[in-house]
Amino acid sequence: MSNPGLRRALAGYGLLAIASLGLPLVTRDSYYIDVATTILMNLVLTMSLRLEMSTGQLNMAHISFMGIGAYASTLLVMRGGYSFWVSLWLAGLAAAAFALPIGGLALRVSGPYYFLISFAFSEVVRLVFNNFFVGWFGGPSGLVQIPKPDPLHLGGLRLTFVGKVELYYLMSVLLLLAAAVLVRLDYSRFGLLANAIRQSDLLAETVGVWVFRYKLVAFVLGSFMAGLAGAFFAHSHQVLHSSDFGLEPMVLLVIFTVIGGTGNVWGPVVGTVTLTIVSEFMREFHYYEILLYGAVLILTMLLLPEGLISLPGRLGRHRRRERPEEPEAMGAGVAP
């Protein structure tokens, strides 16, 4: 395999797989497993947000699709009697189903209006969860006693998902599935075009790229993944409240994604892991944490707008002279 892009993709993915699957072998401490599970869930959210941002759109309603997935799965299980293993995917589809018309409408408007309309949608969703259909969504008190995933029968095995380690593995598998799709896309023509659209959607359009469609696909796929994460959140957390899907958690996602870097699929990984760990140290100092994150976000956008992931590249360029090298073509399997 001579394509350096592909090598990098596989290496990164391999690292992710080893780290996530291997963690419980290193420690079974419930605290660490908890934090790690949160990191993995946040990774699905930030990597899917980054997919949308790679086409140049900041979707302030991303968290709302997580919420739609969460409530959908909860209601399917608690009211509809479905198994988690069905409701999980239906939750993702529900989020995607809402994303299609919402994205279809929101993406018609340009830049600044798009942030605001997506923010408006997110507030509408949150208010609906908080104040309307109280019989379904629990109103201001939310929903409680959401059951954990029911046992899964695979071949002759019976897997239960009651303990933290078991839930951790479930999240790992979900993350690795999502990451497989996202990494594959980023290193393919889709990724090439998405990032082109981000740089100049006018130019992309005039060379024949149907920009609206790519943005919509990213939006719907990203929302589907957010829905999956939401379903996991509901059944592992076992409590749901509309404030879980409001502006503060959304801004946190933006911070994780942007500080890591939106230029490629690995940026959010760096950002999420680093900042979640920092956040754990600052657990008791909630307001200091917010202050720090806000400040770091500002500094990052001013000084290092491409995020932490661009740091090695920048340092490397300072140290050696620029050498023209064999360029990497995007697209797997392309022989040079």
Binding site: A196, Q199, S200, L202, A204, E205, T206, A329
Partner: protein, 250 residues
């Protein structure tokens, strides 16, 4: 075609026809509406009135990407490139119409997808050579680091990569030295000989008259003359328009 911005008529009832296989020039004093015409044809701006046809089919009202798909591509006056991308990546994006479109092919990387990617890559390399962009040594350079002449060449290469038959060039000679201009003119002539149809906007009168088969003159959004370079040079209305502009500036 007509284009109005609020109360301002940028282009008024312009009718023009571009013959295949020719080089057609569009000239006029500053603010005459030339870039607006390009925006109208390429679908970036909608017509306030009127229609545009390409090969007998209506293209006005279509998305720019659809218009490109039909065979019309353009460059921009302020050279627009994908700045973070390398030269090669820019061309690969522009070669999009030859590659597999959409989510599924990228996800699944079928043999057809791979083949099309190889073709796109081959085409990109061909173009690098044709426009003198220094071949593979240059391919890996980020587009924003290129000298001006190469950036312009890349812009044109991208348009060629789309495989369009009608190519709209917005001031392809701007900012080039005399020698670079001569090279560019030769390249454009060669492209036309290969069957491409070119419509260009230019301020360099000598170049336009030397290169173009037909010239349309625009002033304040209205067509004031159309014909061969010789006819245009002798047209009193044209001379007036340019002198008028000069006079106003003096």
């Amino acid at each position: 075609m007509t284009r109005r911005f609020g109360g301002l008529v940028a282009v008024a009832d312009l009718s023009m026809a571009v013959t295949p296989g020719r080089i057609h020039g569009l000239i006029g004093p500053n603010g005459a509406g030339k870039s607006t015409v390009f925006n109208l044809i390429s679908g970036v701006l909608p017509c306030s009135a009127g229609e545009i046809f390409f090969r007998g089919k209506r293209i006005s009202g279509l998305r720019p990407s659809e218009i490109c798909r039909r065979g019309v591509a353009r460059t921009f006056q302020a050279t627009t490139l994908f700045r973070e991308y390398t030269v090669l990546q820019n061309l690969l994006v522009a070669a999009h119409l030859r590659a597999a479109d959409g989510l599924w092919p990228s996800l699944v990387a079928s043999p057809a997808y791979r083949r099309k990617e190889r073709e796109a890559l081959a085409r990109a390399r061909e173009l690098l050579a044709f426009l003198g962009l220094g071949g593979m040594a240059q391919a890996g350079r980020p587009a924003e680091k290129l000298p001006h002449r190469d950036q312009k060449a890349l812009g044109i290469a991208m348009v060629l990569a789309t495989g369009s038959e009608l190519v709209l060039l917005d001031e392809p000679l701007a900012g080039l030295t005399a020698q670079e201009r001569a090279e560019m003119l030769r390249a454009l002539r060669r492209l036309c000989d290969r069957g491409l149809t070119i419509l260009l906007v230019e301020h360099d009168m000598k170049a336009v008259m030397g290169l173009c088969d037909v010239v349309t003159v625009l002033d304040h959004g209205v067509r004031i003359a159309e014909g061969t370079p010789r006819e245009i040079q002798e047209n009193p209305a044209v001379i007036e328009a340019y002198l008028g502009a000069e006079g106003a500036r003096a």
